[in-house]
């Protein structure tokens, strides 16, 4: 394994070749905020929260999919990036209907946490208040499109870890949304194994256990990495 040396926020960082800037930064103790990224799933750079500046490149790059290279000079917290991150969070809040006080994930929501981190005390963009449905056709789980930020963690975990591929992202622009099967009610999709991993990794209250009331969704998405390590260990065992 060869090593690449790069600079992140003025710090020299040694990283394995093939690692991403996000991984290198986290090893070096530099916090880059993320939402769609989750250890154990393939990165997709959907949320744009981890954008960083790379010297010599006019474009901002998402740290979660940018590989490290020798001599890379990365800035993760410039005023420009801070402004963009706050705007990204404001876009997410104003684009859907995120009513924290009546949400199952209130107090345990990654979107709510990121809003604090980026310093959002209000949204400078107008709220859209879109009319969106809630799918309660599954016997155990619900999908509230009002709270969905289209991070696609559910799509990836179902495909990559459970192997069922119930979820997809459909349509474009303001009509973009998560669909089950071929845009069917979730409860009618035979491929669903009822495993609940999508609920576990959802960063907001979009996917939830039926019966959970306000603030009662206490999932821990980092359990996914533990699950995968356990599976891996079992496969390697004699």
């Amino acid at each position: 394994m060869s090593v690449r040396t790069l600079r992140i926020d003025g710090r020299d960082v040694a990283s394995a070749d093939g690692a991403t800037v996000l991984e290198a930064a986290r090893v070096a103790g530099v916090a880059i905020p993320t939402l769609c990224h989750l250890e154990g799933l393939s990165p997709v750079a959907a949320c744009r929260l981890c954008l960083v500046e790379i010297e010599g490149s006019p474009k901002l790059q998402p740290a979660c999919i940018t590989p490290v290279s020798e001599g890379l000079v990365v800035h993760t917290a410039t005023p420009r990036l801070r402004e963009i991150r706050r705007t990204v969070i404001e876009l997410l809040f104003t684009e859907g209907n995120h009513v924290c006080s009546v949400c199952v994930a209130n107090g345990h929501c990654e979107l709510q946490d990121r809003a604090v981190e980026v310093g959002m005390d209000h949204a400078r963009l107008p709220y859209r208040f879109p009319d969106r449905p809630v799918d309660l056709s599954h016997p155990r789980f619900g999908l509230d499109h009002n709270r969905c930020i289209l991070c696609s963690r559910c799509v990836r975990v179902c495909d990559e870890v459970e192997g069922a591929h119930v979820w997809d992202v459909a349509w474009r622009g303001e009509h973009c949304r998560i669909i089950a099967g071929l845009d069917q009610p979730w409860g009618s999709v035979d491929a669903c194994t009822d495993c609940g991993k999508c609920v576990m990794v959802c960063p907001t209250g979009a996917l939830f256990h039926k019966g959970d009331s306000e603030g009662e969704k206490h999932e821990d998405p980092s359990r996914l990495a533990a699950l995968q390590r356990a599976r891996h260990a079992r496969q390697e065992a004699p």
Partner: protein, 188 residues
């Protein structure tokens, strides 16, 4: 009381628009600190601490709870803005429309009134209609800052009493409160 005569009292108002009054209840949760607060302010307008019906001139600080949801709210918020030096959006409804804003994705006030007063009525189903008494609903409930400039945002549903106190203490010292971190700006 031992209030120095020369120190001018902060002229404070609290305003209740489209909200549940929970932010005002949280204000009352300041408990014994209210006794410390009382000699340092003049409460010039408030649904919980004043009988004044007309919003006065020359207000230093107004805590505005609630979104702007009806014609009365709309008229009052413009008056508040004109007559107040520091307008505080007080709680999630004022800042995001929050729970009152849940009606916004519906097709306007008629759908809301039909659902509330006709479809769910036990008997004598009718829309409330008293021109000049019952204010008309606006098309949407809006956050305060989408209608008038806001000077400070105090989130929370409701904002915890300690958060309110931190803001008021800073303002009483003549400082701008530092609104950052989960203690001060977490929604919900």
């Amino acid at each position: 009381m031992s209030q120095p005569a020369k120190l001018p009292k902060l002229r404070l108002a609290t305003v209740w628009l489209a909200g549940c009054s929970g932010c005002h209840m949280s204000f009352l949760d300041l408990d014994e600190w209210l006794i410390e607060l009382a000699p340092r302010i003049e409460m010039v307008f408030s649904p919980i601490a004043s009988d004044t019906k007309t919003y006065p001139e020359d207000v230093d600080v107004a805590l505005v709870e609630g979104g702007v949801g009806n014609s009365d709210n709309l008229a009052l918020i413009h008056q508040v803005r004109q007559r107040t030096r520091l307008l505080v959006s007080f709680g999630d409804c004022a800042i995001t429309a929050n729970v009152p804003g849940l009606r916004n994705p519906l097709a306007g006030p008629a759908a809301v009134l039909d659902r509330s007063y006709l479809e769910l009525a036990d008997g004598s189903a009718q829309w409330p209609h008293a021109p000049g008494l019952v204010p008309e609903l606006l098309e949407r409930v809006l956050p305060v800052h989408e209608l008038v400039p806001v000077d400070l945002f105090l989130p929370g549903c409701p904002p915890p009493a300690e958060r309110i106190r931190a803001v008021l203490e800073a303002l009483l010292r003549g400082e701008q409160p530092l609104m950052e971190g989960a203690e001060m700006i977490r929604f919900g």
